[in-house]
């Protein structure tokens, strides 16, 4: 893969930031489950939170390849940082930049790009996960307002968000994917509550929480795009978001691989470095091969999106393969480290826990297979 000069500089800068600022805190924020406010502020100053926001709205206006490179580099050091940046850019900023009105973009994108307030995406509900058509949250028109009622689950960055995109049923008679609309809801709106954050297996420093909406009055001007088109918008949003989850998983796999490679060269058993045993070399060979394939898929999806071509199937393949690769590689990395890998003294167990999210968030591996299968069959 040949990077252009801008992409190469951006990757190097992201790597420098991850090495200097993220890697040193990754262990502690995972252990304590604390959201890294200070580094998130710095990421805002450096432009990481405005990667997909056009320049005229205070963003970087980077191509998707550059964006994926940043997420990848952050995630080599810490999955939670990768997820915070990925969810904010792909799920929060991108739909407003793509489907929003001029006023919505002017109002919500500049503070988001500067990182003074994050943007979140509230789609999932207790009864509507893989099947987002099962959305129960409702929005009822009342003059110039819509009144929202319902609840959401697992919403990333929501405690730190200034506004969220919330999907709700606006046509109670419509079934399945029809009759859903998307609204931009400001977090200060009366009746809107971000509940206690979840205690998770991995991505422990990423903020995940349920939301409750009780008679939340949202101005009609905050309807995102057209009424009833919400399903279409979030399908498109997820097509793009999956590239960032692939980049996240790629970074985790690479981070774990680097630890395993270095460790096996140092660790001696039976009188020699364990890297000299073919069984260990084969593990590393399989890891490296899977990572190389994952990288090509991920950046091929980026290339297609940057070139304005159809990329939905490729982003689904990239996400499926890369997140499963991250599970495989982090598991093998622990194996290479033996008992040490199983403890928190080394980062591979954290990477293993973080990687698991990638097979679930923004569509499970099974849902990716549905998307890929439909594309393959021309359905």
């Amino acid at each position: 893969m040949q990077l252009n000069e801008n992409q190469s500089m951006i990757r190097q800068m992201a790597r420098d930031f991850a090495t200097a600022k993220v890697a040193p805190i990754a262990h502690a924020i995972d252990r304590d489950g604390t959201f890294p406010e200070a580094t998130v502020r710095e990421m805002g100053e450096l432009g990481f939170l405005g990667l997909v926001v056009p320049e005229e709205y205070g963003g970087v206006g980077a191509d998707i390849t550059s964006y994926a490179l940043v997420v990848e580099e952050l995630s080599r050091a810490c999955g939670s940082h990768g997820l915070t940046v990925a969810a904010h850019n792909s799920l929060g900023c991108w739909p407003i930049a793509t489907f929003g009105t001029e006023e919505q973009k002017r109002k919500y994108l500049p503070p988001a790009a500067a990182g003074t307030s994050l943007l979140s995406f509230g789609l999932t509900e207790a009864g509507a996960g893989s099947d987002a058509g099962g959305t129960r949250t409702t929005a009822v028109r009342d003059g110039d307002f819509w009144v929202l009622n319902g609840s959401k689950m697992w919403i990333t960055n929501s405690h730190y968000a200034g506004a969220l995109i919330i999907t709700a049923k606006t046509d109670p008679a419509a079934t399945g994917s029809r009759g859903i609309s998307a609204f931009i809801v400001e977090t200060g709106t009366p009746g809107f509550t971000v509940e206690k954050k979840e205690d998770k297996l991995g991505m422990r420093a990423s903020d995940t929480a349920p939301l409750t909406l009780v008679d939340v009055r949202v101005p009609h001007a905050n309807l995102l795009g057209k009424e009833g088109e919400g399903f279409k918008y979030f399908m498109k949003t997820l097509d793009g978001g999956r590239i960032s989850i692939a980049a996240l998983a790629l970074g985790l796999a690479e981070g774990a691989f680097a630890v395993a490679r270095d460790y096996t060269k140092q660790r001696e058993q039976f009188g020699k470095p364990i890297a000299e045993f073919q069984a260990v070399q084969f593990m590393l060979a399989d890891m490296a091969t899977q990572i190389a394939a994952a990288r090509l898929l991920t950046y091929e999806a980026c290339r297609l999106k940057d070139a304005g071509q159809d990329y939905a199937h490729m982003s689904a393949m990239a996400k499926l393969h890369t997140s499963e690769t991250a599970m495989f590689v982090t598991d093998r990395a622990i194996q290479c480290l033996g008992g040490y890998g199983y403890t928190t003294e080394y980062p591979v167990e954290r990477m293993y826990r973080d990687a698991k999210l990638c097979t679930i968030g923004e569509g499970t591996s099974e849902i990716q297979r549905l998307v890929i299968g439909r594309h393959a069959l021309g359905l």
Binding site: E5, N6, S8, M9, I10, Q12, M13, D16, F17, A20, E45, L46, G47, F48, G50, L51, E55, V60, G61, A62, S66, V70
Partner: protein
């Protein structure tokens, strides 16, 4: 305030140098190259001065065209206004004195109030170029600075000396070499990286500068790898006293160090 920052691209300190046997040349394939870390202090200081009092910063380097990316990311995107790359086949094998001559020619093309260098480049650790430039230009120089305050036409610099610090006043224009501790270099922001390409970057030859680099006074004859580290040996004994006796014996009779 017109500031020049003279910088060099060096191999990343993580770079593994493949040198099995002594050789006259290093195989540099596969090296990742970065801005010399001491030069980053010089760039940062220049940018802080510009932010405080206005001015213009020119980054100048002698090196191949491949330094473009480093100059863009670590100089222009951080706040330098333009960059000059002096690239000439005549400079292959140039020593510090020749590099200083060529830099002087470039520096004389403009009237700089302040010329900043890193204290040394981490590749050859030579640490001479900044001071040579000052001498050749007949300017005062202060080396190894860790703090800088500018007055009107003067500066006050703190410099590290053995076991303490020295505070030096000096008139402008002057040449300073920057030490770790002077400041905390910033990372370039993404928007600035993307815009760095719009800033002028000039590639010039020795002829453009009207200078003929002098023949090298110094020739590098050989690079040799450091001696292989000996294997570790654990000295044991029935108790601490016995282990210490055994250690003393090994140091005396085998290692012959005591």
């Amino acid at each position: 305030m017109k500031i020049a920052v003279c910088v060099k691209q060096v191999p990343d300190s993580e770079t593994r140098i493949n040198l099995a046997a002594p050789a006259a040349k290093l195989d540099q394939t596969g090296f990742t190259r970065v801005l010399n870390p001491y030069d980053a202090y010089a760039v940062e200081e220049a940018v802080r001065i510009k932010e405080a009092r206005g001015g213009e910063i020119t980054a100048i380097t002698v090196g191949p065209e491949t330094v473009r990316e480093t100059l863009k990311k670590d100089c222009l995107a951080v706040g330098c206004d333009k960059a000059i790359i002096i690239n000439d086949p005549l400079l292959a094998g140039a020593d510090d004195a020749a590099i200083a001559d060529v830099l002087c020619a470039a520096l004389k093309k403009d009237n700089y109030d302040l010329i900043l260098f890193g204290i040394k480049a981490i590749d050859d650790d030579s640490g001479q170029v900044g001071i040579l430039v000052a001498e050749k230009l007949g300017l005062p120089h202060v080396s190894t600075i860790t703090k800088l305050e500018l007055g009107e036409g003067t500066l006050t610099a703190h410099r590290e000396i053995e076991g303490g610090k020295e505070i030096v006043d000096c008139p402008l224009p002057a040449v300073l070499t920057c030490q770790k501790g002077l400041n905390e270099p910033r990372l370039p922001s993404l928007p600035n990286i993307m815009k760095a390409g719009m800033k002028p970057m000039q590639i010039v030859t020795c002829a453009d500068l009207g200078v003929t680099p002098p023949a090298a006074l110094v020739e590098i004859r050989q690079y040799s790898p450091p001696p292989a580290r000996g294997t570790c040996r654990l000295v044991t004994g029935d108790d601490a006293a016995a282990a210490a006796r055994e250690l003393a014996r090994v140091l005396n009779e085998e290692a012959k160090v005591i």
